[in-house]
């Protein structure tokens, strides 16, 4: 099936989604994905970050689609023409999505373990505006422990549902989920409960932001100061194929391996993730193939159409310029509000 995305035509299998086709063309064409996660069935469609304009539905019916469509769950048709980063309406909608996602998201990147690997950072850098228009206070939640290994900081959650699908699809019993609704919806176990089973740690890897983080790694380092190395072991429970994150000679973190879209290709067990923190536990395979979503990919990563790959320093400067000054001084009696 032939489909054209941003003026590039590619031949794909029937049943391919626009997102998958775009990814086949390459990272500079692939729409941002905050919720879609190919290995997880049913994921996608929620964040609306990947909206694209279909300017011709198919060869048979070349009318444009009336609304922007989520590329991650929309299948291509023969002769479909799609506009991604070349369409103003798309860029405008994404600007909106970034703004919405940041509305209640703390700008605590300096103390967030995900910083540097965060899809929301990438997404807002590539598609957002730097000045906030809101003066409202954020909805806030207290961080909680989901058992001994996993920290949940709900303030940072973008409700992509990936961790829920992960728990449903690769662990034995899901004990966490989405509670409540609207902008009060939250990831929770409802009653204080540990997420505790052999594969539970994978929710950390699938989380696009710093909402679910590894307690054994907390505050040990910034990701760009650590060195990733692919390693493996003979594990009875999982593939044993992991990435070790070194600081000096110490393994400070173990994660599953991710492809260039930041997706885990083979989920790993909790023993490998949390307990094997010695080099001697592992057979070293070599330096990790750098995924798109890591800042350590700076300079190494293919040019992006709108925002070229940026050196770390430039990124740091840019981020400082983000203006989240929610000036509420004009309020006469702020206490009455909220």
């Amino acid at each position: 099936m032939k489909v054209t995305i941003d003026n590039i035509t590619i031949d794909v299998e029937p049943g391919t989604t626009i997102m998958q086709a775009a990814r086949q063309i390459g990272p500079h064409i692939a729409p941002p994905a905050m919720c879609y996660y190919e290995p997880l069935k049913g994921s996608g469609g929620k964040c609306r970050g990947c909206l694209v304009k279909v300017t011709a539905g198919s060869e048979k019916d070349p009318r444009p689609m009336p609304k922007l469509v989520p590329s991650c769950i929309t299948q291509v048709q023969e002769g479909m023409v799609v506009e991604n980063t070349v369409n103003e309406q798309v860029l405008e909608a994404r600007k909106g999505v970034v703004e919405f996602l940041l509305l209640n998201h703390p700008l605590d990147c300096p103390i967030c373990d995900q910083a540097g690997e965060c899809h929301l950072q990438d997404f807002s850098f590539e598609h957002g505006v730097s000045k906030t228009r809101t003066v409202e206070e954020r909805n806030t939640f207290e961080p909680v422990d989901l058992g001994p290994y996993i920290k949940l900081n709900m303030n940072r959650c973008v409700l992509c549902y990936r961790c829920v699908y992960t728990a449903d699809q690769i662990t034995e019993g899901r004990v966490h989920g989405v509670m409540h609704r609207g902008d009060h919806a939250e990831i929770s176990t409802y009653i204080e409960k540990a997420i505790d089973n052999d594969f539970s740690g994978n929710v950390i890897d699938v989380c696009p932001v710093g909402a679910l983080t590894d307690k054994t790694y907390r505050f040990k380092s910034r990701v760009w100061f650590s060195k990733p190395v692919d390693a493996s072991c003979d594990c009875g429970k999982c593939s044993g194929k992991v990435t070790l994150w070194y600081k000096g000679d110490d393994v400070i973190r173990v994660t599953a391996r991710k492809n260039i879209w930041g997706e885990v290709t083979s989920f790993i067990c909790n023993t490998c993730r949390f307990e094997k923190k010695k080099t001697s536990d592992w057979k070293i395979e070599g330096p990790m193939a750098v995924p798109r979503h890591s800042v350590i990919s700076a300079n190494k990563y293919a040019a992006n159409k709108i925002t070229p790959a940026f050196p770390m320093k430039q990124a740091a400067e840019q981020y400082k310029k983000i203006d989240d000054n929610r000036d509420r001084s004009f309020l006469n009696a702020p206490k009455e509000l909220n």
């Binding site: 019993g173 899901r174 004990v175 966490h176 989920g177 989405v178 509670m179 409540h180 609704r181 176990t189 409802y190 009653i191």
Partner: protein, 164 residues
């Protein structure tokens, strides 16, 4: 696991639960969740985690599946409530029909704010959205009963009657 031993529907309700489950195809017993939660709340007044765990066990689903559902829908009380839960409609059309005044009167009469329960545990006031009775507003609901075309006098009567 929470102790669910003390929580048990009476026999006739249990029979009803099984009838409800039979409304759906084999293996789709989760569909009975909302009706059974309503029965549970009628029995125990609110949906405590223990009650929800019991419901999960009846339907053979995971407790988390009950929590996510019970917290999604506004009719289920997740905290203890008074004997009579007064749920008044705060949406536009009811306000046009004089709702604000009537509800203020209600709160004053009971001496509590929305979300609170009277000290004697008799009344809880909750705010809800449109109850599909807009032309007969202002409206509130107490359990299954709708009280419509409310005036401050009517509110007095209703509360006095229920206070007996």
């Amino acid at each position: 696991m929470t102790n669910t031993q003390t929580i048990q529907f009476p026999a006739d309700t249990l029979e009803l639960v099984h009838k409800i489950i039979n409304r759906y195809p084999e293996g789709k017993q989760k569909s009975a969740l909302l009706p059974v939660l309503h029965l549970a709340q009628a029995e125990w007044r609110w949906c405590s985690p223990e009650v929800m765990d019991y419901v999960a066990s009846l339907l053979n689903i995971k407790p988390i599946e009950v929590y996510e559902v019970a917290t999604f829908y506004t009719m289920f009380h997740l905290e203890p409530v008074g004997e009579h839960v007064i749920e008044y409609c705060r949406t536009g059309p009811c306000c046009l029909m004089g709702g604000v005044e009537v509800y203020d009167h209600l709160k004053k009469k009971l001496g509590i704010e929305t979300g609170e329960t009277t000290a004697d545990g008799k009344f809880t006031i909750k705010e809800v959205e449109c109850l599909a009775a807009c032309g007969w507003g202002p409206v509130f609901q107490i359990r299954e009963k709708y009280y419509m075309n409310l005036t401050t006098e009517k509110v007095d009567e209703i509360i006095d009657e229920l206070s007996k």
